[in-house]
Symmetry: C2
Subunit: 275 residues, 2 copies
């Protein structure tokens, strides 16, 4: 029997949408109020998978989520890209002139600030979760209040879409990871991407040398991010994603990199969602 999937936020959230798109529309989810909560649920065995945002094109990597995967020795087993579109939702029958307040997460409010400049009568109020506001408007029949959320949320909570795609930056692609406790069944034939973490001394050329190995072994780099290690000055951790055509090339690169870098760790091996 398959266990449900842990998501951050409630049904109608972007994490829920990714769970439906990656697994299937009827995938059972456990709503967690934080990313820590999703990990707790996985470790307790209440869920088999987590859907977890890893990076987006506006804010970059979500380092605390990388830290959760790393600290708890979890494994990335898949990925999914979603273009985050914000919509203005309210009860059916309401027009935008009747909306007095819009409640949403501070980040969503910020991303849609310019849209609301044309509607100075609407007050922006901070809330914890984008989809939860949609749910409350629907359940409590709240008039005069609008939510900023996905089309999915509109459908789920039977709200009207007053305005579509109201965020300032029209494309905000977010990359989500599908995370498991451990990856027991690596299908070498379908695997063509890996997420790695390693540490290097602040020595001239140490990263260049590692990237030469990556290149010589025919791997492509699709992401790199350095993070200074606070405990040990001048030492850096690197989060790197690579894609490859042949698993053997990857294995060869791995065996060399493991000798060259400290605390080398594979965070996940999975199928590239971009191919």
């Amino acid at each position: 029997m398959t266990k449900p999937i842990a998501i951050q936020g409630i049904k109608g959230s972007f994490h829920h949408e990714v769970a439906q798109l990656y697994f299937n529309e009827k995938a059972e989810v456990v709503e967690c109020m934080s990313f820590d909560g999703t990990v707790d649920s996985l470790l307790k065995g209440d869920t088999d998978f987590i859907v977890m945002a890893l990076e987006n094109s506006i804010a970059g990597s979500i380092i605390p989520n990388y830290a959760l995967i790393d600290t708890h020795n979890l494994s990335i087993v898949g990925e999914h890209y979603l273009d985050i579109q914000h919509n203005l939702l309210a009860l059916k029958g309401q027009s935008i002139s009747e909306i007095k307040e819009v409640h949403s997460h501070p980040m969503a409010l910020l991303q849609c600030k310019i849209f609301f400049k044309d509607y100075p009568h609407i007050k922006l109020v901070e809330a914890k979760d984008t989809a939860d506001v949609a749910k409350q408007i629907s359940e409590q029949n709240l008039k005069g209040i609008a939510a900023i959320a996905s089309k999915n949320a509109a459908q789920l909570y039977t709200l009207n879409i007053l305005a579509e795609s109201i965020q300032t930056i029209k494309h905000n692609e977010t990359r989500f990871a599908i995370v498991k406790r451990e990856n027991l069944e690596i299908k070498r034939k379908t695997i063509n991407k890996a997420s790695l973490k390693f540490e290097l001394d602040h020595k001239r050329g140490s990263l260049a040398t590692i990237l030469n190995v990556v290149s010589d072994c025919k791997l492509n780099l699709t992401k790199i991010q350095s993070l200074p290690k606070l405990e040990t000055l001048w030492k850096y951790a690197f989060f790197v994603d690579v894609t490859f055509k042949d698993y053997k090339d990857y294995e060869k690169a791995l065996s060399i990199m493991q000798l060259m870098a400290e605390n080398f760790k594979v965070l996940g091996e999975y199928k590239n969602a971009r191919l």
Copy 2:
């Protein structure tokens, strides 16, 4: 006559503290309510400098601030590292058992969540700005309410420190940039660090080749971050910091890298605060 310095937040904020430490204790600041606001103030000519957080050891790079510097063609002319310490502040005479609510920025509340587990009688309430809560407690003589802010804020608003360093992760070092409209007076002798931005095709080894140039020219890499370009799939932007001993080495690397990468841009040349 020197113009004031734009800071995000109010007096007593960490940005204010950095302005005082980088310039001097009496440095005049203009309080801005957003990072966009600091840029507006600089472009209007109301201020000569911005103090702007660029990255921290918990969350990584603050990409939207890199984007502000890049989009408006501003110049990083200095940097400062600050270890962010959160303290619990309240009116003098109040004990922690008398505190009913703590108001602070969601991020500060999150970072101190474990501390408050021992004080279940205290309700956590989200507020816009950490230092602003301290100011309000002081000005309105608010009893039963505590703020999470710096020791500087405690002193400035004559509040009592009920508990020191209450954040879960004890070291949260934040790197701040000192930003100007343009850097007209580059003192080559004191410059030993630069922030660069460039773009590369998703071609095997393209980054490795650039980093070989960095290494061959005796430059050290202290930060690297890739950011996918949404408009053009398979093209990546890179934010890179390098340090060097001799400006001539840097000039040589620059001349080669400019030929190898697209849209090459120097975001700033300044003195390394870590030496």
